[in-house]
């Protein structure tokens, strides 16, 4: 039985996951899944899938409020709402009243060797207490050291040292926030000679050891696979099924020798194909589309969301047929 089919069979019922989990298509004993810093209340139950969402961006506020679009949930950029007051928070209040939200940050700098920014974490917790997101996510990256913020999602070497460092920091953040966080794979443009393992091996180890969720950005897998000439299917197949709570889809830009994760283009055909593969492996996963520039009319992201729905539905039927 292929891993994707096992993943599909996991949908819906969380009950068994307290005893048995699946990782990379293998059955994993419960002891491994429930060790670490889980309290009795925190089990391996993944949050229920939210359906198909969009990134909440100010340019679409009016469309969302006036058209009541077929969007199941919104992902909000946490930092955009870490402001004292005014329209951003008022709009989020209104939209939160009608939709589930997920908070997605860019400043946790989980892989940085600088100390964790406790003030940031306090602000994040305060925002989460107010808006009750389904989960909180950030990126497998660092944003600066020595007090500087480079405002970018910077790459890491895949070493044991980095793994130990990041696992420890994720655990500390989860303790502080009182919940698991989801960590997203980023697009990268360089690889380090120091790396000792593949990105996907690193991510799998990180998720298990830190006991965190994963946000699998399908476009980032595609962009990085092009830039670093790795097999994207192997990447998808290596990510543990029981850890992934969310997919990202987005467009990117093309340079001659590399691709750049710009979120300002439509989702490309290769990413749709990879998404289809991910749906078959991971089953029903909350999916959202990121758009951060070159904003088209709201109908375009809505149409892309319909396409995601249709791909996920077809993948689900395919899984059902195989498992029947």
């Amino acid at each position: 039985m292929a891993a994707s089919e096992v993943g599909g069979g996991m949908r819906g019922e969380g009950r068994h996951r307290r005893l048995i989990g699946l990782e990379d298509g293998r059955v994993v004993a419960s002891a491994r899944l429930t060790t670490g810093q889980l309290s009795k209340e925190q089990t391996m139950d993944k949050p229920s899938p939210l359906g198909f969402g969009l990134g909440l961006r100010p340019v679409y506020y009016e469309d969302i409020l006036e058209r009541n679009p077929n969007v199941d949930w919104f992902e909000v950029l946490s930092e955009n709402y870490m402001v004292p007051g005014g329209r951003p928070l008022a709009m989020l209040e209104r939209i939160r009243a009608d939709y589930p939200i997920v908070m997605h940050g860019v400043s946790m700098s989980i892989a940085s060797t600088a100390p964790l920014d406790v003030e940031y974490l306090k602000a994040l917790k305060e925002l989460a207490d107010r808006f009750q997101p389904e989960w909180i996510s950030d990126h497998l990256c660092w944003t600066g050291v020595h007090g500087v913020n480079l405002h970018d999602l910077l790459p890491i070497p895949y070493t044991s040292e980095a793994l130990n460092h990041i696992v420890e920091r994720i655990r500390r953040v989860q303790d502080f926030l009182g919940r698991r966080i989801a960590i997203e794979n980023v697009s990268s443009y360089v690889t380090f000679t120091e790396s000792e393992m593949d990105e996907w091996t690193f991510i799998r180890e990180m998720a298990v050891r830190a006991d965190c969720w994963l946000l699998l950005d399908v476009n980032n897998v595609f962009v990085s696979s092009f830039n670093h000439s790795f097999d994207r299917a192997s990447y998808i197949d290596a990510v543990p099924v029981d850890r992934v709570v969310q997919f990202h889809l987005a467009g990117h830009s093309e340079a001659e020798t590399h691709k750049i994760d710009t979120h300002d283009q439509p989702i490309c055909e290769e990413v749709w194909l990879l998404y289809e593969k991910a749906c078959r492996r991971f089953g029903s996963i909350s999916t959202m589309i990121e758009r951060d520039g070159n904003f088209p009319p709201f109908d375009e992201p809505l149409a892309e969301l319909e396409r995601a729905r249709s791909i996920a539905r077809a993948a689900s039927h395919a899984i059902d047929e195989v498992t029947a």
């Binding site: 930092e79 955009n80 870490m82 402001v83 004292p84 007051g85 005014g86 329209r87 951003p88 928070l89 008022a90 400043s107 940085s112 060797t113 920014d117 003030e119 940031y120 660092w142 600066g144 050291v145 020595h146 007090g147 500087v148 913020n149 480079l150 405002h151 970018d152 910077l154 890491i156 070497p157 070493t159 040292e161 980095a162 460092h165 443009y189 360089v190 690889t191 380090f192 000679t193 120091e194 830039n227 670093h228 000439s229 340079a255 001659e256 020798t257 590399h258 750049i260």
Partner: protein, 258 residues
């Protein structure tokens, strides 16, 4: 090399174009490591420039793309961002212009930057419930001299070069801006119903508002204005200001001071 050392070198590569980090970066099958690292080097500058363009669109129009580009470059080089939130990266720009050649010679540009900054700050300043003008009706006549006021957190007063607001309005409407004028004028910035507003203040309203913000009571404000201007109708004028402050949505609380 430790992770900390690698990150320090990587950051130096972005901030100072120190290329020693390239020794830790591999060529890809398609291109060389220097080309790949440049993606991060360029992205840093482009992203910060984008923050500033978003925060100061009218300043950019006023200066033109070329001069604004030079300003952005100077600002980026002057210091790296230490803000965890991009929202505040441009906060220092008016001060930077004020203290740095050649920008410090351009009072009009500095005040346009201050103007746009004030609109941004009003936009997401803290929320506070407003007081209705009906609250005044509940105060009996003998208590009026002792009324003190509290104001919306978004409220801000700036003294700006003459004509700054007209230049801003013309450029925002894509019209030919007037020339900068001699002297200064006082401006009030605040947020109402989710939108930032501004308006000019007369000298006596400016004075009254400054006093009121400091917690001075109604009678003290009238006394000061009478002393400054010697106007016989000063009480009526201050009452008129007060009425306007309520209409603008500036007053959050009234209290009676002992």
């Amino acid at each position: 090399m430790t992770l900390a050392e690698l990150q320090t070198k990587f950051q130096a590569g972005i901030l100072e174009n120190d290329r020693s980090v390239l020794a830790s970066i591999a060529d890809s099958r398609k291109t060389d490591r220097a080309t790949l690292f440049t993606v991060y080097y360029d992205a840093y500058r482009m992203r910060l420039a984008e923050f500033l363009s978003n925060d100061f669109p009218i300043l950019r129009t006023s200066l033109g793309d070329e001069a604004f580009g030079r300003l952005v470059e100077d600002y980026i080089l002057s210091a790296p961002s230490r803000q965890r939130n991009a929202r505040w990266y441009g906060a220092r720009l008016p001060y930077f212009m004020h203290e740095t050649a050649p920008w410090r010679a351009n009072r009009g540009a500095i005040d346009l930057a201050r103007f746009e900054r004030a609109l941004s700050d009003a936009f997401d300043a803290a929320d506070a419930p407003l007081s209705s003008i009906d609250a005044l009706a509940d105060i009996c006549a003998e208590d009026w001299p002792r009324i003190a006021f509290e104001f919306d957190p978004s409220l801000m007063l700036l003294d700006l070069a003459g004509g700054t607001a007209q230049i801003y309005a013309a450029l925002a409407a894509e019209e030919e801006p007037p020339a900068i004028q001699q002297g200064e004028g006082a401006f009030l910035f605040w947020r109402k119903d989710g939108h930032s507003f501004y308006r000019a203040l007369s000298e006596d309203e400016r004075l009254a508002l400054m006093e009121a913000r400091q917690g001075k009571k109604f009678s003290d404000i009238c006394t000061l204005l009478a002393y400054q201007g010697g106007d016989e109708n000063v009480t009526q004028r201050v009452a008129g200001f007060l009425s306007q402050w309520f209409a603008d949505g500036l007053v959050t609380r009234l209290s009676i001071r002992e």
